[in-house]
Amino acid sequence: MSSSTDTQGTGAYAPALESPRSPYRRGKPTRSNWELHGWLFMRMSGVLLLVMVFGHLWVNMVAGEGINQVDWSFVAGKWSSPFWQTWDLIMLWLAQLHGTNGVRTIINDYAERDATRFWLKMALYTATLVVLVLGTLVIFTFDPCMDPASTLEVCRTGSAG
């Protein structure tokens, strides 16, 4: 950058006069890059969600008996495996945060009164908190052996209860 001005190698830099074609550099940003990170998050989580949601839809709605197979024992079969627990946990958080940020953008676009925007976003953040806490608790505290008639391998031996 300005190493050419430091010919003595002393590390002491005089305030350099920029050459005419040096790229324009903004002053110190006065605000955070929050919205930039949000913009980037939408794109990165979007790509991950495409893979995870399509996988979710394929396994639950296309493979096997399709939508007819979905019942409690189907869920128990999936959530007795750490693979699907992790899959669904990551998908839950990514989808809810992606959706919250999208709806936040829409509220900012269409709600013109300050108070309306504020309360709509408070409702949005409350719903987000409920979904994330409830969803996470359900995935982690679910007992696949709750059904005494379960035929799952994990329920036939050990301390099923």
């Binding site: 939508i67 979905v70 809810q96």
Partner: protein, 136 residues
């Protein structure tokens, strides 16, 4: 002030002509992206609540899920998957427009690519899903 959008006296009081964006692929894909996104958001809320009933009892969950197992909800599920597939494919288009150096140049072709891929995915899915829904 006369602009390119101002109808001339010769044309009569017509609506303003479209621009590269307005009324074209760019605008309508943006509208559809918002509508599909909001629809998926509200579904996700309901979906987490209904799935949470697995924690109550097998009977409670099967009763809730049983409410979905009818042709009306089956067709609704088709619409929901359609919203997800469109939102996903158009999201890839948005990423390409943002990050691919030729993205803006090809944005209209990308939109029609989304339409073609959407059709190629949704027709087989609709056949399989509706077979499950109505063949049960």
């Amino acid at each position: 002030m006369a602009t390119s959008l101002t109808p001339t006296a010769k044309d009569g009081p017509k609506r303003p002509v479209g621009t590269l964006y307005r009324g074209r692929e760019g605008m309508w894909s943006w509208v559809a992206h918002r509508i599909s996104g909001v629809a998926i958001f509200f579904f996700l809320f309901v979906h987490v609540l209904d799935t949470a009933t697995v924690r109550i009892s097998p009977e409670a969950y099967d009763a809730v899920i049983g409410q979905y197992k009818n042709p009306v909800m089956g067709v609704g599920e088709l619409g929901l998957v359609g919203a997800v597939v469109f939102h996903a494919l158009n999201g890839i288009r948005i990423i390409l427009v943002d990050f691919w150096s030729k993205g803006t140049q090809h944005q209209r072709k990308l939109f029609w690519g989304v339409v073609v891929l959407f059709t190629l995915m949704m027709v087989p899915f609709a056949i399989r899903h509706l077979t499950f829904v109505f063949g049960h």
